[in-house]
């Protein structure tokens, strides 16, 4: 079933073959983890441990600092070495808990619930809340907030996002191949929470194995349907995914719940299952370490707080020609000034770019108004005009061209023949005018 494909979009080379066939392997234990107290959208956590204190794996170390927030737990057993400011992947200094790993991997006591199917929606939500689960596709929005829409906004559809439209990344793909049952159980929990009749799993059709695996695991389950989506970036963007699966368009500046839909990443669904069934907090995740600049691309099961430099070593280290390390995918990820920053709950991948994969864009030309960006903008914007206004300092003009509807997918900058840094100019303009 495909209701309506979104307009625009691009087909960048996906380079997923670098890591697609590598089964998920558990990364080696780091000696030290740096766990940021702010890994989610919303208020940072308050530390509930003190330096010198012994902690177990899965023990809460930060409590929510507000309504939109999520608790943080230790990913190792060991001793709190320090609480201080450390850089995160975005280059900001954030309060982080540094824990020396004793290597024993001792779990704190987790509440097992074999009969979780009998829990009420409220009980299920409470378990998801205390497990500190956030969206694992990248945005890291606290999941429980998404699961608690206001009464006047009823939900009728739950969609799992297995599109993984970012080039290079294969973590969600591997998860769907290796753990389809847990993803489905997670989706069933979400369906129960909302009391909706149907759930969908959207997967791009360039991953036929994943579609097949999920369909096999779904045998006999009538309430869930796999939707094969045409592979086209940014198919996995929330708005585009909802449009493709349900045909509904989220109005400008509205949320999925305004069209009665909730979207969760497939990894999040699995984390939801593990939180409900085993009481397991979100302290580990699957991510892809890949790119032409790394010796041995892999899909790894990683503890939150592990330094990215540790993972790079794990994958054979940087090649000679490695020039850029990206946290996330190459279309929307952040280039790291240094690999000594920790993995967080929202880190979906590490892409190391080699010299050959780069198109150096230090030098960009004027807009020649070819209109390519207008053709491909999935939001129906005119990126050319946004970039021209922003470049000349006419930020109000950019606003008139719907600046704030841009979610910075980067498709325009990808196709621009003049190599204009359109996303950068859009961000500049956004910072200069009020929405």
């Amino acid at each position: 079933m495909i209701s309506a494909l979104f307009r625009g979009g691009i087909h960048p080379p996906d380079n997923k073959n670098l890591s697609a066939e590598k089964p998920i392997a558990t990364a080696s234990q780091p000696d030290t983890v740096f766990i940021p107290l702010s890994q989610h959208l919303g208020a940072p956590c308050k530390a509930v441990v003190t330096p010198g204190q012994e902690v177990k794996k899965g023990e809460q170390i930060g409590e929510p600092g507000g309504f939109v927030s999520a608790p943080v737990h230790s990913s190792v057993s060991g001793k709190v070495a320090a609480i201080g400011e450390f850089p995160n992947a975005m280059g900001r200094m954030v309060t982080s808990v540094v824990i020396e790993n004793n290597g024993k991997d001792e779990w704190t006591i987790l509440k097992d619930t074999p009969d979780f199917e009998r829990l009420s929606p409220e009980e299920l939500k409470e378990k998801i809340k205390i497990a500190g689960i956030v969206g694992m596709g990248g945005a890291a929005f606290p999941t429980v907030i998404k699961l608690s829409p206001p009464k006047e906004k009823p939900i009728d559809t739950v969609i799992l996002n297995g599109a993984e439209c970012e080039p290079y990344l294969t973590a969600d793909y591997r998860l769907m191949i290796e753990h389809p049952d847990e993803i489905i159980l997670g989706l069933e929990i979400l369906i129960k929470i909302f009391g909706v009749p149907r759930g969908y799993i959207g997967i791009e059709d360039n991953k036929p194995d994943a579609i097949e695996k999920m369909n096999q695991a779904l045998q006999g389950k009538e309430t869930i349907e796999v939707v094969a989506l045409p592979a086209k970036y940014p198919q996995g963007a929330e708005k585009m995914l909802i449009k493709s699966v349900t045909g509904r368009e989220i109005p400008p500046r509205a949320l999925p719940m305004d069209v009665k839909v909730v979207v969760q990443n497939v990894g999040t669904a699995r984390a939801v299952f593990e939180a409900v069934r085993y009481g397991k907090p979100l302290i580990e995740r699957v991510l892809t370490v890949t790119g032409g600049g790394i010796h041995d691309p892999r899909n790894l099961f990683v503890k939150v707080g592990t330094l990215i430099s540790h993972l790079i070593e794990e994958c054979g280290g940087l090649r000679e020609d490695a020039v850029k390390v990206i946290s996330g995918g190459p279309m929307m990820g952040f280039a790291l000034p240094s690999p000594d920053v920790p993995v967080t709950k929202g880190t979906s991948g590490i892409v190391v770019m080699s010299e050959q994969e780069m198109v150096h864009a230090a030098d960009f030309g004027p807009c020649i108004r070819c209109g390519r960006c207008i053709e491909i903008c999935p939001m129906g914007l005119m990126p050319s005009m946004l970039s021209i206004y922003a470049e000349k300092g006419f930020y109000e003009g950019a606003k008139e061209y719907n600046l704030f509807d841009c979610f910075e997918c980067g498709s325009c900058a990808f196709v621009c023949p003049s190599k204009r840094p359109i996303v950068q100019l859009v961000r500049l303009a956004k910072s200069m005018v009020k929405p």
């Binding site: 109005p251 190459p330 280039a335 900058a413 196709v415 190599k419 996303v423």
Partner: protein
């Protein structure tokens, strides 16, 4: 930007980019005009080739000198000045004096393009302004048409009239008479054996180049087809001598600079609308104005002025045809109230 400690490059997403570049587009468009150049050379001899080369050299040199003098980054290798010079050259009669392409190129590159802010900021198609300037300033020199000859060397070429000139002055019967019969007329127009500007005579050569550009997706159907379609429709309805609906659209399509203009000049990215629906209106306007000038105006040919007039409207058309924002119900919301 490189981080000093780690040696890693830090830049804003996206981190991958398409291989297409402005330079490649400009050089590809120039390449697509090669068949037209070759046919021009075949029919009008070395003199015509030299005129085109002189035009290109003048355009590139003007750009170089201007950018140097203004202490701007010299970007002549982006191919845009080359393309402007080439288009100007192809839009000149075969045997103009040598100062003509030089003056035209200077007007095109310096006045029309650079003084408006350089590539991307000019309102009018540079090559066409260059040509319009020449036509208005040197009307006699710009309307001397050599008779085409397949022989490569012809020192004292005879002059002739263009098919459109004959059509305007003496009517379609005379035009058919000049070419022998109707089918001979069509085949000569297709092949290019007729009087006219260096690059506009061979419809076949131009279509080969246009097919290349469309195949490469450098141009889309929107402007050329709406341009040619509108012109054909008007030619059919109003172009005949025996009343409405007796005109010959094919004759109008294959004569003058219509093919060159519709596929290679009106499609100029900078001076045409960027939004596809707007491009259709733009092309329709070009077709309408071309035929208005051809049928009712003082000049036999109207493509150049039609495109230049429509160039004025491009920014307005882009505003009017703004794309629909995802999820928006009606017109895109205006942030600031006027």
């Amino acid at each position: 930007m490189k981080n000093e400690k780690s040696g890693l490059i830090v830049s804003v997403s996206p981190h991958i980019k398409d291989a297409e570049t402005t330079e490649r587009i400009m050089w590809s468009v120039s390449l697509s005009l090669l068949p037209a150049v070759l046919m021009g050379a075949y029919f009008f001899g070395p003199r015509a080739v030299f005129t085109v080369i002189l035009s290109i050299l003048s355009a590139v040199l003007s750009e170089y000198i201007f950018l140097k003098a203004m202490k701007k980054k010299v970007v002549v290798l982006d191919g845009s000045a080359f393309l402007t010079g080439l288009l100007l050259g192809l839009n000149l009669p075969p045997s103009v004096p040598f100062f003509i392409p030089v003056i035209g190129a200077i007007v095109a590159v310096i006045i029309t393009k650079q003084l408006f802010g350089g590539l991307g900021y000019n309102i009018f198609n540079p090559a066409l302004i260059g040509r319009a300037f020449l036509l208005v300033s040197f009307p006699r020199l710009m309307t001397v048409w050599n008779e085409p000859a397949a022989a490569f060397i012809h020192l004292d070429a005879r002059t002739t009239a263009t098919p459109l000139g004959i059509l305007k002055e003496e009517g379609v019967t005379k035009l058919i008479e000049v070419f022998g019969d109707k089918w001979n007329l069509y085949s000569q127009l297709l092949f290019g054996h007729r009087g006219g500007c260096i690059g506009e005579t061979s419809v076949l050569a131009l279509l080969i180049g246009a097919a290349f550009l469309m195949h490469k997706k450098y141009i889309t159907w929107h402007i050329p087809i709406s341009f040619l379609g509108t012109a054909s429709l008007i030619a059919w309805i109003f172009g005949g001598q025996e009343g409405f609906f007796t005109g010959d659209p094919l004759l109008h399509l294959m004569t003058g600079g219509l093919m060159l203009g519709a596929f290679f000049m009106a499609t100029d990215y900078v001076t045409s609308p960027s939004v596809k629906n707007g491009q259709i209106l733009f092309g329709t306007g070009c077709g309408f104005l071309t035929m208005l000038i051809r049928l009712k105006g003082g000049y036999p040919e109207g493509v150049m002025f039609a495109i230049l007039i429509m160039n004025c409207f491009s920014p307005l058309i882009d505003r009017g045809f703004r794309t629909k924002v995802f999820g928006a119900v009606k017109k895109p919301e205006q942030g600031a109230k006027q």
